[in-house]
């Protein structure tokens, strides 16, 4: 049955948990390498996963990153529970950020996260409900 093989794994991410931030994307990267995804593609997926994970850590209460790998594509589904994004178009602009002073002092919140994800994805969809949360669908072709 061609195309039937799919690998799925979900990772929990907690908001403000800086001690463990980056763990999900590191695990995702390891899995992609074990499967034998070409290094350049792994790097794109790694950057997208890392930025998405950091967005949950920085802005949401909690969330999940789900990795799906099929012979055709890598898919990252990121869902969080948080404040949501009021103006997505604005949020997609390079350098736009709502990050607090505290977050910026830690070296984050430069407004490059979402644009960076879009740059590294072949397909990118973002949906957000203010007061509820945000959902990202990131696809990278193989």
């Amino acid at each position: 049955m061609p195309g039937a093989s799919v690998f799925t794994q979900q990772f929990e991410v907690r908001g403000r948990d800086f001690a463990n931030a980056g763990r999900a994307s590191t695990a995702i990267k390891e899995i992609l390498k074990e499967i034998g995804i070409p290094p350049a593609t792994v790097r794109r997926a790694a950057i997208a996963a890392y930025e998405a994970e950091m967005n949950v850590v920085l802005y949401a209460r909690k969330g999940t990153v789900e990795l799906q790998v099929s012979p055709r594509e890598i898919r990252l589904l990121v869902r969080d529970e948080g404040d949501g994004i009021p103006d997505i178009e604005l949020a997609m602009q390079e350098g736009y950020s709502t990050a607090s002073e505290e977050i910026r002092e830690m070296g984050f919140g430069a407004g490059m996260g979402l644009p960076n994800i879009r740059k590294n994805a072949d397909q990118f969809r973002i949906e957000s409900v203010v007061g509820q949360g945000t959902e990202l669908d990131i696809r990278i072709r193989l």
């Binding site: 061609p2 195309g3 039937a4 093989s5 799919v6 690998f7 799925t8 794994q9 980056g22 994307s25 590191t26 990267k29 899995i31 390498k33 074990e34 499967i35 034998g36 290094p39 350049a40 792994v42 790097r43 790694a46 950057i47 890392y50 790998v69 099929s70 012979p71 960076n116 193989l142």
Partner: protein
């Protein structure tokens, strides 16, 4: 990893399967099979952590000995500057070099000038470089192999400059051939190495066909004879001036970075910490740094697995030498600039990516195997006890999927099963 040779081997007569090597290996390249440690060749990066860890000295570096070098008319020892940290604080590098000529070498040449020259060459390279940052030091062969295997997307960030030992060997070999009127192949250059990784770098120099070095001997093998020779040696005028320059600091963590003009450097030792940092680089971080000095050994080469002294003692001795003799330049900047322009320091080609083998060459099968691995992993205790002969439950799950181990090898699962049987029998 493509090469059929590695720098260490397990001596089955000494191996008692005590698993210290298996737990110490940073790439999970060791398994216990039928009562002995076995090295998975395609996962070994020759860091030598297993050599250091083994309580029975059962893992031995594949190195030469003096008798192998009898074929040469003239033998020259090129000791890693790490050797200067191996002896009492009052023993000078110049005296150590002379002592080497008392134990069988015709001559011993210092490499400190080469380490400093290479540092200046890195300054030159950084000045013109416009590619992705940070650049990664290419001088620890185990780090280079780690990058090729686990971070193949970063290979082009390894600085394409040849190692001090190779540059010195090339220079010394041609100069000595002229001076002695001997053909180059009758002069044997022997590197005195602090680690197995450098042995391999002599056998398979990165990005080149051949090395100008003819072999390597562990510093630890020469330690006893050298101590004896040093006991008979006294300091002579000129010993203090024999070795100088900031290059003296190369064997300690941070010593390379200290030689550079830029302050945007970071030095990291120990393969696990190196890997953690390279993870960040792979995630697109640390671009504000110019140069990462990476060592497989926690304190740098002075703490290599084939050295003898306590690493902190060795470090302190090297720093003492830097403090005393580091201020005087060991080479001329103008001369290095000219040589750099001529390509004297460059490594040809690029470092090829050499990823660890995937679960399967065919991607859909690899995906299925990874899914099966995840299922198995969820049933395992996740305590990484090692009793199955694999270092972690993760690597055990991989071994099961690849048919290299059976699920029954998991002691915890087997005991649990036996317990359940007993309970049902009693009920």
């Amino acid at each position: 990893m493509g090469d059929d040779l590695h720098s260490v081997r397990v001596n089955p007569e000494r191996c008692r399967a005590r698993m210290a090597c298996m737990r110490a290996c940073p790439t999970e390249a060791i398994r216990i099979r039928r009562g002995h440690a076995v090295i998975l060749e395609d996962r070994c990066i020759d860091c030598g952590e297993c050599v250091r860890a083994c309580p029975n000295s059962a893992i031995q570096p594949l190195t030469g000995s003096f008798t192998d070098f009898a074929r040469f008319k003239y033998t020259i020892a090129l000791p890693s500057p790490a050797i200067y940290g191996q002896f009492r604080r009052d023993i000078l590098p110049g005296t150590i070099l002379r002592a080497l000529t008392r134990i069988g070498f015709d001559e011993a040449c210092d490499l400190t000038w080469a380490t400093e020259s290479v540092s200046v060459a890195i300054d030159e390279f950084l000045a013109d470089y416009r590619g992705p940052l940070p650049l990664i030091s290419p001088f620890c062969p185990a780090v280079v192999r780690l990058v090729q295997a686990r971070f193949p997307a970063l290979v082009d960030q390894l600085v394409p400059i040849d190692s001090p030992m190779e540059i010195a060997a090339r220079e010394i070999k041609s100069r000595k051939a002229r001076e002695l009127g001997l053909p180059m192949d009758e002069i044997g250059l022997i590197y005195l190495t602090p680690c197995p990784a450098k042995i391999l770098a002599v056998e398979f120099p990165p990005r080149k066909r051949t090395s100008f070095l003819d072999g390597a001997i562990p510093i630890s093998d020469l330690y006893q004879p050298l101590l004896a020779a040093l006991a008979r040696e006294t300091e002579r005028p000129g010993d203090a001036e024999a070795v100088k320059g900031l290059g003296l600091g190369w064997p300690v963590l941070g010593g390379q970075a200290a030689c550079l003009k830029t302050e945007d450097t970071l030095a990291v030792g120990g393969l696990r910490d190196v890997a953690r940092l390279l993870e960040d680089v792979e995630n697109g971080k640390l671009g504000e740094l110019q140069y990462l000095e990476c060592h497989a050994c926690p304190q740098g080469c002075c703490s290599g697995p084939l050295t003898v002294e306590n690493p902190y003692f060795a470090r302190s001795k090297i720093l003492q030498l830097v403090g005393r003799y580091g201020r005087e330049p060991g080479c001329s900047r103008e001369q290095i600039h000219r040589l750099y322009q001529q390509g004297y320091f460059s490594l040809p080609g690029r470092f090829p990516p050499q990823p660890f083998p995937p679960l399967d060459a065919e991607i859909s099968r690899a995906i299925e195997k990874r899914a099966r691995m995840k299922e198995i992993l969820e049933t395992l205790p996740r305590i990484d006890c090692g009793a199955c002969g694999a270092p972690t439950c993760h690597s055990f799950a991989e071994d099961v999927v690849q048919g290299r181990a059976a699920l029954e090898d998991c002691v915890v699962l087997t005991v649990e099963q036996a317990r359940r049987h007993r309970h049902t029998a009693l009920a």
